[in-house]
């Protein structure tokens, strides 16, 4: 590593980054609808993602109703069940979590946290949202086309995904793939913005090592997503050609329901390689922003700098790089060459080390802190519990031979819900409770927040922790009904019923959250500019909510890292990033 010496610059280097042009809206339409302001785009992304996420939530209720009380609800048949799981998974992973973390949090926080006026390519940024919205509309349209949405599972494995034994073969799968292609195009537009903004538009003094970990997490995740999504793009295009034009990229010679189809020679494994080359980084695309957000929440609400900041940054980078060489751990029992197992098990378990370091540093940040048990902090604590739980069960599934009995069982379902469902959602909620005051100028109601938190956290844990044990027992995933199976005791059905009840309760608790968001918008307590006493730049804006161009006349200058909490000798227990050191203050420089 080149050691560039630390240079103290006494004066303040001049003005702003020259080549960022700020677009000035002229009408209501360009201000709030076709807006090029990253803050508005962020809100648009978030609302769209949460709206489609509500659909996925309802689908999960339907699935749980079927699993908990099989045969009771005549309106759910096996093919609908498959459609529910497919759409639920696809929406949650891609259209909710990816869009919300990168399009929502990314758009809002990156420019504010690095001290920029906006994203560097505002027009492209706006297009990104509209293409995303189109992707969501195409996706939602599959519910209304003949045959309904595809029921191929979110992994869309061919040949099954495009054959008639799977629901949604006519329209569902075609629109699904089209929607994914649109999503990727839209995301790429946004992603370019997030990356280039972090690279180019940081304000004076904002070196990489002064960035809040949220920016590090979102930045690294975006880089990964930009490079990983093309794999899904290629796979989707090829599958679409197989489905529509009869090519045989993935389709082998096969006999369907006694009929010889005209396909031949293709490789279903090829699809899996492409899919998981995207799919595994995707896990970290969702996890890294959550890591970043949690680091900041813990630090702010424990009034203590994040422990081991450098290690945290290195770990993010290491995880980002490593996650491109672990994809085939999703394919241990796919029939690929068994010797790959040795390699991928090793890389997969190695990635556990930087991940573990992050967990240690979070809990060590709590040590000797001044822990305010605010709602964001509670969510951060819940994130740690669920993430540690899900991460550790990942060590089962990543260890190739242990995966053999557990793959494709409910153990897998429990694992990935814990680690990339519940844990990131905890980060999302924590983030929303934390930054809502900045976005709206008002606090979310704390009592409602605490109620929402406890029901969501304990309820979700009660769903997914016991689920692992159904998997150990051998219950396969994607079964709409276990049916009469000798090795499954009657008590397993009771457990399923219990989990379903918990799922319904958790689901309804989300209505409290939605109510709180709307109610607080009008009736919430006035927040002021910096209600949590945080150091990072987004809390230092001249106006709250931040106005057009974020910073008023002059861009902020950064004098310190983002974690100066409880610094010995300082009067307050936090020092904002743009507060000049005592020496400069004497010269008459003010934040």
């Amino acid at each position: 590593m080149v050691d560039i010496p630390y240079q103290e610059v006494t004066g303040i280097p001049p003005a702003e980054v020259a080549d960022v042009e700020l677009y000035h809206p002229r009408s209501w339409w360009t201000r709030y609808v076709f807006s090029q302001d990253a803050k508005v785009i962020a809100v648009q992304y978030s609302i769209t993602a949460m709206a489609i996420g509500m659909v996925a939530l309802v689908l999960s209720w339907l699935m749980r109703l079927q699993l908990g009380f099989p045969g009771t609800f005549s309106f759910i048949d096996p093919s609908q069940y498959l459609q529910f799981i497919t759409m639920h998974g696809m929406i949650m992973v891609i259209y909710l979590l990816t869009a919300l973390f990168l399009g929502g949090f990314g758009n809002y926080l990156i420019p504010l946290m690095v001290g920029a006026r906006d994203m560097v390519f505002p027009y492209v940024n706006m297009l990104s949202y509209w293409v995303y919205l189109l992707a969501v509309i195409v996706l939602a349209a599959t519910f209304f086309v003949p045959g309904g949405p595809t029921g191929a599972g979110w992994t869309l494995y061919p040949p099954q995904a495009i054959l008639s034994g799977t629901p949604g073969q006519d329209w569902g799968i075609v629109l699904m793939l089209a929607s994914l292609i649109l999503f990727i195009i839209g995301f790429t537009m946004g992603g370019l913005n997030y990356v280039v903004t972090v690279l180019q538009a940081r304000t004076r003094g904002m070196t990489l090592m002064r960035l809040p970990l949220t920016v590090w997490g979102i930045f690294t995740a975006t880089v990964m997503a930009l490079l990983a999504f093309p794999a899904l793009f290629v796979a989707s295009v090829m599958l679409l050609l197989d489905r529509l034009l009869g090519t045989s990229f993935f389709m082998p010679t096969l006999v369907e329901m006694g009929q010889q189809l005209k396909y031949g020679g293709g490789s279903p494994i090829l699809f899996q390689h492409l899919f998981w080359f995207f799919g595994h980084p995707e896990v970290y695309i969702v996890a890294l922003p959550a890591f970043g957000i949690i680091s900041d929440l813990i630090s702010v609400h424990a009034r203590k700098n994040i422990f081991g900041y450098r290690m945290m940054v290195w770990a993010i980078v290491a995880i980002g790089a490593l996650s491109f060489v672990v994809w085939a751990h999703h394919m241990y029992v796919s029939g690929m060459h068994p010797y790959f197992g040795f390699f991928f098990a090793t890389t997969t378990l190695i990635i556990a080390i930087p991940t573990a370091i992050k967990v240690y540093n979070w809990v060590l940040t709590l040590w000797r802190g001044d822990i305010h048990l605010t709602v964001p902090m509670l969510y951060a604590l819940a994130f740690i519990i669920t993430f540690v739980n899900g991460g550790l069960t990942g060590l089962f599934l990543g260890n190739v031979v242990v995966d053999v009995p557990l793959s494709d069982t409910m153990f897998v379902v429990a694992h990935f819900h814990m680690v990339m469902g519940i844990a990131p959602i905890m980060a999302v909620f924590g983030g929303i409770y934390h930054w809502y005051p900045k976005v709206t100028g008002r606090m979310l109601n704390e009592a409602l927040g605490k109620f929402h938190f406890w029901v969501t956290f304990l309820g979700a844990y009660a769903i997914f922790f016991p689920m692992h044990y159904l998997g150990l027992l051998g219950v396969p995933r994607r079964y709409h009904d276990i049916g009469e199976t000798a090795f499954i005791p009657a008590s397993a059905h009771d457990l399923n019923a219990f989990m379903s009840v918990a799922a319904l309760i958790v689901g309804f608790a989300q209505l409290v959250f939605v109510f709180n968001m709307i109610w607080s918008l009008m009736k919430g307590k006035e927040a002021g500019g910096n209600p949590w006493g945080a150091t990072s730049l987004e809390w230092q804006t001249p106006e709250t909510p931040p106005g057009h161009g974020n910073w008023g006349k002059e861009l902020p200058v950064v004098y310190r890292w983002a974690y100066d909490y409880s610094v010995p000798g300082a009067t307050r227990d936090f020092v904002p990033q743009n507060e000049p050191p005592a020496g400069l203050m004497a010269q008459g420089v003010h934040p």
Binding site: P252, F342, Y360, L472, G474, P476
Partner: protein
């Protein structure tokens, strides 16, 4: 205070649930006890880490939650502590990975004396085939599938003639290693018997495999573990593991491919004669 207790309770309840859970893996019926052992090792290590992290967190919340006048310590990093934690994690990971890789090596090394059994999946049923007297399975291809030849055997392959085509459940002799050859003629399936622990996807256009030795007699349910369409959950069959003698008695009664095609030919001719 309450928060700390609840956090601790979550950890304690998880451990208690694990200990008292009536839902645990099925009694093993194959030689893959090592897989269970590796899972157990993993449970011990990960369980300890889980409990330690959550308990530590709960303690921090209990001990350091905000009180009037408290100020957090200032502690940017502690290289030594971080290195020790990393090394400790590395050791823990190695302790799980090493046995895992050793057992995987056994898993992918098929013993020379394993007898071959073919399992074929299609939407939504299982078919089985055993090599005949010549000890070799004939080749097959989805292209050859027809109502007379549902498994798609290659008619020109002499090895295929004496293959035993099983029209019911699969029987296996106890104590003999078996190499299960897996194929499919339509979509992905996965031959899954929980008691055997081993499983593998079946891919149309390719033959995959795994091996195991049945270690106890009994009837075991076969499920499909790879989503294969609407009736995925109904794709069932049975494997019956028997003593050598009973197994042979059963095998005697099975028919070869040649016999079956002949029979089908006769039946077809009779049908034709009838309809004319």
């Amino acid at each position: 205070m309450a928060v700390a207790i609840i956090l601790l309770l979550v950890a304690v309840a998880s451990v208690l649930f694990h200990i008292y859970s009536p839902w645990w893996w099925t009694p093993i019926a194959s030689n893959w006890r090592y897989i269970d052992d590796t899972i157990n090792i993993t449970f011990w290590i990960t369980g300890a880490v889980f409990f330690a992290v959550i308990a530590f967190m709960a303690y921090c919340v209990f001990r350091f939650h905000h009180k009037e006048g408290r100020r957090a310590a200032y502690n940017p990093e502690n290289k030594k502590l971080e290195w020790w934690l990393s090394i400790g994690t590395g050791i823990g990971v190695a302790a799980m990975l090493a046995p895992g890789l050793i057992v995987w090596h056994q898993f992918v090394t098929v013993p020379a004396d394993a007898t071959e059994v073919e399992v074929m999946g299609q939407q939504w049923q299982w078919s089985y085939r055993l090599p005949g007297k010549d000890g070799r399975l004939g080749t097959s291809d989805a292209r050859h599938v027809s109502s007379e030849n549902p498994m798609g055997l290659n008619l020109d392959d002499p090895y295929g003639k004496d293959d035993v085509v099983i029209q019911d459940d699969l029987h296996l002799p106890v104590g003999k290693p078996v190499k299960v050859l897996l194929r499919s003629i339509d979509v992905l399936h996965d031959f899954y018997v929980p008691e055997f622990r081993a499983k593998m996807d079946m891919i149309p256009g390719a033959v995959t495999y795994f091996w195991f030795t049945p270690t106890r007699t009994g009837t075991f349910e076969v499920l499909c573990a790879e989503l294969c369409g609407v009736a995925h959950a109904q794709m069932r069959s049975k494997v019956i593991v028997q003593e050598e003698r009973e197994y042979h008695a059963w095998l005697e009664k099975q028919r070869t491919f040649a016999e079956l095609s002949e029979q089908r030919g006769v039946a077809k001719a009779a049908y034709k004669a009838d309809s004319e």
